[in-house]
Amino acid sequence: MRDAHALDFYRLLDDVPLGVLVMDRHRRVVFCNRFLETLIGMPALTTEGLHCRNVVRSRACITGCPAEHHAELSETACIQSDLINRDRKRIPVRMTLSSLYDINGKPVGFIETIEDLRHLKAHDEEAAQAYSFSHIVGQSVQMQKLFGMLPVVAQSDASVLITGETGTGKDMLAEALHQESARAKGPFVKINCGALPETLLESELFGHTKGAFTGAVENKQGRFYLAHNGTLYLTEIGDLPLPLQVKLLTFLDDKIVYPLGSTKGYAANVRVIAATHRDLEQMVREGRFRQDLFFRLNVMRLNIPPLRDRDGDVRLLVDYFLNYFNQKLHRNMSGFSAKAMQILLSYAYPGNVRELRNIVEYAVSVCREKKILAAHLPTYLSERRPMAVEPSTPSEPAVQRAGPAPVRREGVSSWIEMEKQLILDTLVHTRGNRVLAAKQLGWARSTLWRKMKQYGIDAS
């Protein structure tokens, strides 16, 4: 196997910053690169001819080698495991094993790459207690609970359903889960189910064969094909048309993709992460979303709380984004004035973290002074009727005032309910006078009328 032509190839592999092991059909080592030599602590020359399990000594080698009973692998296998090197150190690794073929397509052996995951594991341990996961930041109890779950969810290969309001960071979370999973080396393919019409979406997701429909002049590989050995992220899954929900369900059951116009399917090793801002349970009740698909996707569910419910996170995020935009825009802002901070802390953020990020970016861009004042914040923050803020006691740390600034009421759980309650309270106060109520709320009469209609409030 090791001939004169292959020598340059081996030299190239020697310089790869990743452990590489080339084996024959009986999994006896033909080549071990320099990186792996250092990782396992065994000279490459002494590894030649040895069975790979005696060289790598990983858990996967002993408990479940994918090539144990096969001369060839039908697909590339990616496994997270650990090995014990010659320094008696246990090292977490990610191993990717693939078959090697000669020019006639005959399997001649295997190639394995071994990645040292020590730095990632150290990061995981920190992340378990840290106020962040990947680039998601938060110190509230709700977010810490979420951060505690994420490493476990990331390592599992089950489907994940991410729910949360717009701007809470569903896309970031999906990507972070992929990056922390065993599929991190594979592709992360994202598709917005609400962005394309049904026929186009089907072709985009599953691909099509030549002649499947007018204009299908050639075969097209779908996103499932592109996401092989990786993760497919279906955002706005609530907008997926019903016929495609059936097709997605079939894939989740069989893991086989049937391109449009083809009777022959192919196996795709894809993890599906779906996200939506819609209430899928409600959609299931209304018959707009298939219950079986909902159960299939809902294997692991992560709900990102809205920013107003995340106690203490507004201040943390304000500081985080200020620091971020200081660096990005080459500015040197020292912080926010007390008044500006009060406005930021008392705002309800219907657009969640995205809105807060935009507000801070706007303020950093507009401000020409050292400190950001209330005047540097977007005007709509101070134009709105300030949300009632509980007076903070001297002993209470300022951060605790952050988050859900409006007065909390028994049984009021969402912004919609809170706004409805606010309108009702104002109408009661003005004895049903809508002109006065609109004035008190700081809205135009038409806005109040629209919202009353939306919430089904009848003031007459």
Binding site: T46, R57, R59, I84, D87, R88, R90
Partner: protein, 110 residues
């Protein structure tokens, strides 16, 4: 006086990993370098702690193994067990080499 030698196994070879072995070869060896008795023990599951415990209760003097965690190695040597690790080869051949006094850490026995 006999020496008790323990070799964690993977099939008929020295197990590549001490902690993942589910079979153990126990050999009673004479001072003259002969194997007086051999016993194959099957464990209910892989566990470094269980093998260590067995080595202690059976008063094993030497363990020949493949990869072993530093912590387990330190424990066994602290308990006066002679551990020869990183050994690759068939258990019977390895044991013969040990009895002839020529087995060292990292040996690959053909």
């Amino acid at each position: 006086m006999t020496t008790k030698v323990m070799i964690p196994l993977h099939k008929d070879e020295v197990a590549p990993r001490f902690d993942l072995s589910t079979e153990v070869l126990m050999a009673w060896c004479s001072d003259e370098g002969n194997v007086e008795q051999e016993k194959l023990l099957i464990l209910p599951g892989p566990s470094a702690e269980r093998i260590c415990h067995m080595a202690m209760t059976e008063h094993v003097q030497a363990i020949i193994c493949g990869g072993i965690d530093q912590e387990v190695f330190d424990y066994l040597t602290w308990k006066n067990v002679d551990v020869i690790d990183d050994v690759i080869g068939r258990a019977t051949t390895v044991l013969r080499r040990y009895l002839s006094g020529r087995l060292h850490r990292g040996d690959i026995v053909p």
